[in-house]
């Protein structure tokens, strides 16, 4: 398996604080990599550096062997990388279907064709499929702001897949989602992973969710990589227990 994402010695400082302090890892095609660590250890900052929301102070990010450090988020998205955010980010006034069309439209045609072409950019069918896949059928025409928190989380995740992304970085997808909906979400993620060979990196605090979903887990502490390995190995690692999992 080749590496989709290679991250080399990424650093990010805010004033005197080294939020991310030399992190290197790679993500293989088709895998689900978990990213765990105590609050403030630099997980989200690392995501923001990889995805162009922040410019790293040092280091390099490669996508399929190409250096993509410093590209804007919209440019990275066009290359097949998408994400969800820690805090819920859907467009509350748009309907569920419109949210999904928006999430895919910039991948269709160019600026000119999006102006003169069809209002739905030819995506209604694809959006309906995604709605069916995430079991949101009965809510398709509701404004997203009217959905329950868990439903919005599902929509949030669904939006990340609309552009046909191959690599999706999910920042706490399970946060605040009730157990039955969480099982749904996990099942959907596994299905997309298998069917579309999509690669995931998942930040999550819910250990059960991470350990059962991910093939490898990376543990961060104080801006550095503390451990990396299969869920079982990581769970037993004394340094990890000390820093994060507790005694």
């Amino acid at each position: 398996m080749s590496a989709v994402l290679e991250v080399t010695d990424i650093k990010k400082s805010f004033g005197g604080i080294h939020a991310v302090n030399g992190v290197s890892f790679d993500v293989r095609e088709g895998e689900i990599l978990g990213l765990i660590g105590p609050n403030g250890c630099g997980k989200s900052t690392l995501f923001n550096c990889i995805l162009g929301q922040l410019t790293p102070t040092g280091g390099e990010v490669k996508l399929d062997g190409q250096v993509v450090t410093g590209l804007r988020p919209s440019e990275l998205n066009k290359l097949g990388v998408s994400r969800t955010f820690q805090l819920l980010q859907v467009f509350p006034k748009l309907s569920v279907r419109e949210n999904l069309i928006l999430a895919g439209q910039e991948h269709q045609g160019n600026m000119a064709s999006r102006l003169v072409g069809r209002s739905d950019a030819g995506l209604t069918e694809a959006a309906n499929q995604m709605i069916g896949f995430f079991k949101l059928d009965h809510l398709a025409d509701e404004p997203a702001g009217g959905l329950s928190y868990g439903q919005q989380k599902l929509l949030d995740a669904a939006m990340a897949f609309m552009g046909g992304s191959r690599l999706v970085l999910l920042d706490e997808p399970a946060g605040g989602v009730n157990p039955s909906m969480l099982a749904d979400l996990k099942e959907r993620l596994v299905a997309i992973n298998r069917e579309k060979n999509a690669t995931f990196v998942v930040i999550e605090h819910n250990m059960e969710f991470v350990m059962s979903l991910c093939s490898r887990v990376m543990v961060m502490a104080e801006g550095k990589v503390l451990a990396m390995g299969r869920p079982g190995e990581v769970r037993k690692n004394p340094a990890v227990i000390e820093a994060y999992l507790g005694h």
Binding site: Q89, F91, L94, E98, L102, M111, R114, G146
Partner: protein, 332 residues
Amino acid sequence: MSDFAKPLKIALGLAIVAALIVVPMNFNRYGLFILSQWAVMSIAAMGLNLTLGYAGQVSLAQGAFVGIGAYAAAIMTTHGWPLPAAILVAIVLSFAIGWVLGYPALRVQHHYLAFVTLAFSTLAFLVFRNESWLTGGIYGISNIPRPHIFGIATNKPLPFYYVCLGSLAIVSLAVWWLIRSPWGRAFMALRENPLRAQSLGVDTRRYTLMAFAIGSGLGGVAGALYAPLTQYIDPVPFNLSLSLDLLLMVIVGGAGFYFGPFLGAMIAVLLPEWLRFTEGYYLMLYAIAVMLLLIWSPTGILGILDRYLAERRTKAASALRAVAKSRLETVQ
């Protein structure tokens, strides 16, 4: 209910358009002037609604773009150019300047952006007033001709009203198309959550600049019609107060609602006329009415309608759920 809603809306729309064509035939010169002014201000407010209401970029410079369009039209038509050519130049000029004015919006937002655009508004006013070789300075430009459209002279108030109304119709259709297109969706995404929009591939830089450029371009169109409407322009009507008036039209009508600018412009242009009988008190009454409205509904007049419709939808949906639930219980 929803089966009837669409034909009903179309019928209502056609009735309003027919009324706008037929009823003014009996109006006097002054009534036609006011109605033409409404059409022109609606175009300018629609432009600002695009920039501010849909794309969420504050601008206090829309009045300056109306001025740029008006001067472009006045200078060209008094030198023998036809009005359509002048409108085209007004669009290109204000689109280009609007594009450049969009750059600060890539760095600053909200009231900081308001100050940047306010400074631009002042700058434009100073150019209109001081560059007399081009603009005639404080003496302005007079004897601005009205055009011949398909060989028909529009010197009289009624034909020129139709020119304004026709332009409003064309602009309305274009804006309707734009906000229903993926661009409109991208503008709304820009307003509601630029960070998320970026991560979904929306090139927020380009759309921000476009929102400014197109909105300003429509300001230019309005200006290019304003000049032949009044047939005389000087710098005063295009000072900051016009930008504030246009902002008020958008906010009062309902920012981000398609019909907001039509309604806002109607109130701003017609209300002073209706309140004329109150003599000196009209501005006070107007101010109080605006304050009360915005306390009651910060999203403007159409916001009230929108809230009402949303409430009814929610009630209908929960009634449906209740029915479904009782059926489910019966089955069990």
